[in-house]
């Protein structure tokens, strides 16, 4: 307030000096005029005027301290009054802590999706580009990577095409693993990048150096840049790690750099970066599939970039053999859109819900304060009469609410820490970097600002009503703070917000229910799956029989695990997997035909126990028998594959083209006779149509595969099954890491996003309902207390207790109805926000809304039962005698 005066001491000094000097002279002159001699006059004047320094000090104090002192005074006073009323203080603090805590936790969790820039320099200029292959991408988010074929790329385009300033690539593949083949051995995620990869993203190693083009040359010495995590875990954060070697997949590579702790790959996570070293490609070779990124010149839009680069991609793709029936499409997407996808939609929904909760909490606390203010009206009147300024009183009222908010906010931070941990655990794995969310300085700042805003908002109305306390109003009950229609508006607003939140969560819970209830085509309970990828150093792809033997032995072992009902080995994870996908097909020894656009045909090599293990029904014909492995080629079609390949016919006895592994490391196609039709399995996701699938018996499995997926259906307990399966692998090769997972967990993962959103929203809506009920209870109790006299009169005039309580409930009912109508209107308008998250239910689904309204009405009417009962117990004689 007068803070600026702190800086003006010199000016003050000078002015006080001059005024003092003048005053002194005037006094001396007067003294002389009244007959004193000059020296006495001087002394007397000085004595009368007092100590000059004291005056200056007084001015200083007034200028500098008064503001802070008033704050301190207000705080002390607020603490005293709040302590005198611990019930009120605790309720208000708890309610605010709940609101602020959930908002803080939610903000922290969603910050990276909505607000925080990606951890790359000038991230808005980064793009991901390549070709969309209809058979690979487009349907589920998980496989939306754009792909570039190395053959078309040939080790960076030089010069870098307009409008890019840099282009870089990573070898395509989800979490390609590599094994550390020295002690302690472990499996890490390795990414093979071009030498300019980090530079393009504006990232520098915190230790050591970046890759150079020489590192990327074919046959150059092996080098690696390790992640901060690996550096701390494996090397104890030793700065001397640079130049040390690490055995990766049996070859040693020297560590040249350490990545920053906050670095995160634009593709899937990686522990180690290595140069690709694949250029120049030998002529005629296709090379690997790549994920490509580029940095645009400033001001270039994604569309411009796409228009510029499409011809280059297309021209380069011309030389390629057709990958599928559908020609690939060039595309450029902003890196942020690629990584975060449609998550902001959900994020805004959740943020909206938590903001609603915070708003309800604020309204609730305002209501509490206003009710208490009504009781303290007399106190404020006396203070005003004793000379306290209105502004001073308003500041006092504001101090109190700010203190409540600050204490509530502090408590809220503790609450937020717990909530955040819960969010992180519940969060769907598609929420990128959620595990990095923490209560850091940024979150603290936002939480602090939020607490202040809430304190001001909550205090604004009470401060305003104190402002209007003007004169003493003895005996009168009508006080500005107690005007019921304002409180009515507050309660109605609360109820309206609650209705919207309840309805939203009802819709999401129905969505979740619909998704969980989708028949998946298999039975997941008591099934455990395990992916086994043998250590590359011990089982190199070239040593033909070794892996094959390992895979087969493992299958035998797993079959013998006690309690096993059925066991199988297959080429792909279950139920999804993209091991073999085609966009063309051949039947009955005819030339292959392209499938319709967007269609894809999956292939899966399985051992005979497959259908029993997953309990996939065989609709026609037969399942595989042991004799099919190595016997004449046979195949089983999924129902949709049968419809696709043999429309209107019985597929049994027809032939389809399928690939088989040869013992000489080649894969050949053979014509296989269809012997059965199996039920469809939801292999894309619970809400999407199944891809048609062709099953063939797994043959000579290990000669070509780098991994196999095992599954058992067991009667054993979950812990035993997991232990047995791990033991089976350890017995054969202790260095091969395995994770065993119940299939139920995979099934749950498919619905984790609707589950997360639905449960969070339901929790927020539940809290909102609780707060709204508490708010209504408070207002109703207050009104009953206020009207004790009126009630007494009515009872004296013959109203029965039942009439009285009916009146109270009826009045509350009107508020509830008003809130419900308003809430429905609100929800109607905001339905679009939630539509994208729904499945199998319309955003205006009457059942969901009816249920929410019934729940709301029940809870709120329950809340007014006690005030109503109290009103009915009013003793008319006492009520009239009082006052």
């Amino acid at each position: 307030m007068r803070i600026s005066d702190l800086l003006r001491r010199q000016e003050i000094d000078q002015r006080v000096d001059e005024e003092f000097e003048f005053h002194l002279r005037m006094q001396i002159e007067e003294n002389i005029r009244s007959g004193m001699n000059p020296s006495d006059a001087c002394v007397a004047a000085r004595r009368k005027l007092g100590n000059r320094t004291q005056v200056t000090e007084e001015v200083y104090r007034m200028n500098t301290i008064s503001f802070l002192e008033e704050v301190a005074q207000n705080v002390r006073f607020s603490v005293r009054t709040l302590r005198r009323n611990p019930g009120f203080a605790m309720t208000a603090v708890l309610v605010l802590a709940l609101g602020l805590g959930s908002s803080t936790a939610m903000f922290s969790a969603l910050d990276r999706i909505l607000f925080r820039p990606l951890p790359y320099a000038d991230e808005d200029r980064l793009v991901h580009f390549g070709m969309t292959f209809p058979s690979f991408s487009g349907r589920s988010a998980a496989d939306s990577d754009l792909i570039l074929i190395a053959g078309s790329y040939q080790g960076s385009w030089k010069p870098v095409p307009e409008p890019f300033t840099a282009v870089t690539t990573v070898m395509w593949g989800k979490g390609s693993s590599c094994d550390v083949t020295e002690q302690p051995s472990e499996r890490l995620l390795c990414a093979q990048v071009e030498s300019n990869f980090l530079k393009t993203f504006g990232v520098r190693p915190v230790l050591g150096r970046d890759f150079t083009p020489e590192d990327d040359a074919r046959g150059a010495p092996q080098v690696a840049i390790i992640s901060h995590k690996v550096w701390t875990r494996r090397f104890g954060a030793d700065p001397g790690v640079i130049g040390r070697t690490i055995e990766l997949d049996g070859a040693s590579a020297s560590v040249i750099g350490v990545l920053p702790a906050e670095f995160s790959m634009p593709t899937s996570e990686a522990d180690i970066l290595r140069p690709q070293q694949q250029y120049p490609l030998p002529p005629g070779q296709l090379g690997s599939m790549l994920t490509a990124f580029g940095r645009l010149k400033p001001g270039v839009t994604g569309e411009q970039a796409q228009a510029a680069i499409a011809p280059i991609i297309e021209a380069n793709a011309k030389g390629l053999p057709r990958v599928g029936g559908n020609s690939p499409q060039p595309r450029v997407v902003r890196l942020r859109d690629h990584l975060i996808g449609d998550a902001p939609r959900v994020a805004w929904l959740l943020l909206g819900a938590v903001a609603g909760l915070l708003l309800i909490a604020c309204v609730n606390v305002t209501n509490l304060i206003v009710a208490r203010l009504a009781a303290r009206n007399r106190e404020f009147e006396v203070r005003a009469a004793l000379g306290a300024g209105r502004a001073r009183l308003a500041r006092l009222a504001l101090t109190e609410s700010l203190m409540l908010a600050v204490v509530g906010g502090t408590l809220g931070l503790a609450l937020a820490a717990g909530m955040l941990r819960m969010f992180v655990q519940m969060a769907p794995s598609s929420m990128r970097d959620i595990e990095r969310a923490a209560l850091d300085l940024r979150v603290f700042t936002v939480a602090g600002a939020l607490a202040l805003v809430v304190g001001m908002a909550v205090g604004a109305w009470p401060a305003f009503s104190v402002w209007r306390v003007r004169e003493l109003q003895h005996g009168s009950r009508a006080t500005p703070a107690a005007r019921p229609h304002m409180r009515f508006a507050l309660v109605t607003a609360q109820i309206a917000l609650t209705v919207a939140m309840l309805g939203g969560s009802a819709l999401l819970l129905r969505t979740l229910w619909n998704q969980v209830a989708v028949p998946l085509g298999y039975q997941s309970e008591q099934v455990f799956t395990m992916e086994v990828a043998p250590n590359v150093a011990r089982y190199p792809p070239s040593s033909r029989g070794l892996r094959h033997a390992l895979f087969e032995q493992l299958l035998d072992r797993i079959r013998q695990i006690p309690g096993t009902v059925a066991a199988t080995m297959s080429s792909d994870e279950f139920p999804g997997g993209m091991h073999s996908v085609a966009s063309r097909s051949a039947v009955d020894r005819q030339p292959p035909r392209d499938l319709a656009r967007g269609m894809r045909l999956r292939g899966r090599d399985v051992t005979p126990g497959y259908f029993q293990t997953f309990r996939i029904p065989i609709l026609r014909g037969r399942a595989f028998a042991e004799s099919d492995r190595g016997g004449p080629p046979v195949a089983i079609l999924s129902e949709s594959a049968a419809r696709l390949l043999f429309p209107g016919q019985d597929p049994i006895g027809h032939t389809v083209e399928r690939g088989y592994n040869n013992t000489d490391l080649t894969r050949v196609t053979r014509w296989a006779e269809v012997v059965g039709v199996a039920g469809d399995v939801r292999n894309v996701g619970p809400t999407l149509d199944s891809d048609p699938e062709i099953y063939v018996p797994a043959e000579n499995w290990g000669y070509l595969a780098s991994y196999a997926v095992y599954a058992i259906r067991t009667q054993a307990s979950s812990a035993n099954a997991v232990a047995f399966m791990k033991q089976a692998v350890a017995d054969l090769d202790p260095l091969t890491p395995v994770t065993v997972e119940p299939l139920d967990a995979e099934v749950a993962r498919q619905t984790e996003r609707p589950r997360f959103v639905a449960w969070l929203l339901a929790a927020f809506a539940g809290l909102a309902l609780l707060l709204a009920a508490a708010g209504l209870y408070g207002v109703a109790s207050y009104l009953v207390t206020q009207r004790t006299r009126d009630i007494g009169v009515r009872m004296a005039l013959g109203a029965s207790p039942a009439d009285i309580s009916r009146q109270v409930v009826g009045e509350a009912g009107r508020w509830i109805a008003a809130g419900a109508v308003l809430g429905c209107a609100l929800a109607w308008a905001g339905a679009r926000a939630i539509e994208a998250q729904l499945y199998g239910v319309a955003s205006r689904d009457p059942l969901s809304w009816m249920v929410s309204l019934v729940v709301l009405a029940a809870a709120l009417l329950l809340a007014v039962q006690r005030p109503a009962a109290r009103a009915a117990r009013v003793d008319p004689m006492e009520a009239l005698r009082a006052d």
């Binding site: 007068r2 005066d5 003050i12 002015r15 006080v16 001059e18 005024e19 003092f20 003048f22 005053h23 002279r25 005037m26 006094q27 002159e29 009368k48 005027l49 007092g50 100590n51 004291q54 005056v55 007084e58 001015v59 007034m62 200028n63 006396v382 005003a384 009469a385 004793l386 000379g387 004169e471 003493l472």
Partner: protein, 112 residues
């Protein structure tokens, strides 16, 4: 009341100063002090140590304004005059004062 001179109640000095500059027009500090003492007729002891801080406070609140001028005996002195806001404040404080007097009278009356 005893034989001692009354102490100024907190906050009332402002009222006195405002009233003085309102009725007398622009005055320097010395004249304000003299005028208050003259009116008080020795019932009240004015401490000069509090007068100047009060003047500065009132000025900061925008209730009075000041400028350098020349006194009747040709000395440089700072003259204070009331502002529009100051007149409002004076009316308000006067009213408050009357309320308080009424209140205290009532309290004393009811206590008897």
């Amino acid at each position: 009341m005893g034989k001692d001179k009354a102490e100024l109640l907190q906050g009332t000095l402002d009222l006195l100063v405002l009233k003085t500059v309102e009725t007398m027009g622009p005055l320097h500090g010395w004249a304000i002090a003299k005028r208050i003492e003259q009116v008080a007729q020795d019932l009240l002891e004015l401490k000069y140590g509090t007068l100047y801080p009060a003047l500065m406070r009132l000025e900061q609140n925008g209730w009075i304004s000041s400028e350098w001028g020349t006194s009747e005996n040709n000395r440089r002195a700072r003259f204070y005059s009331i502002t529009k806001q100051g007149r409002k404040q004076l009316a308000l404080e006067a009213e408050n004062w009357e309320q308080m007097v009424a209140f205290i009278t009532r309290v004393l009356g009811s206590a008897r």
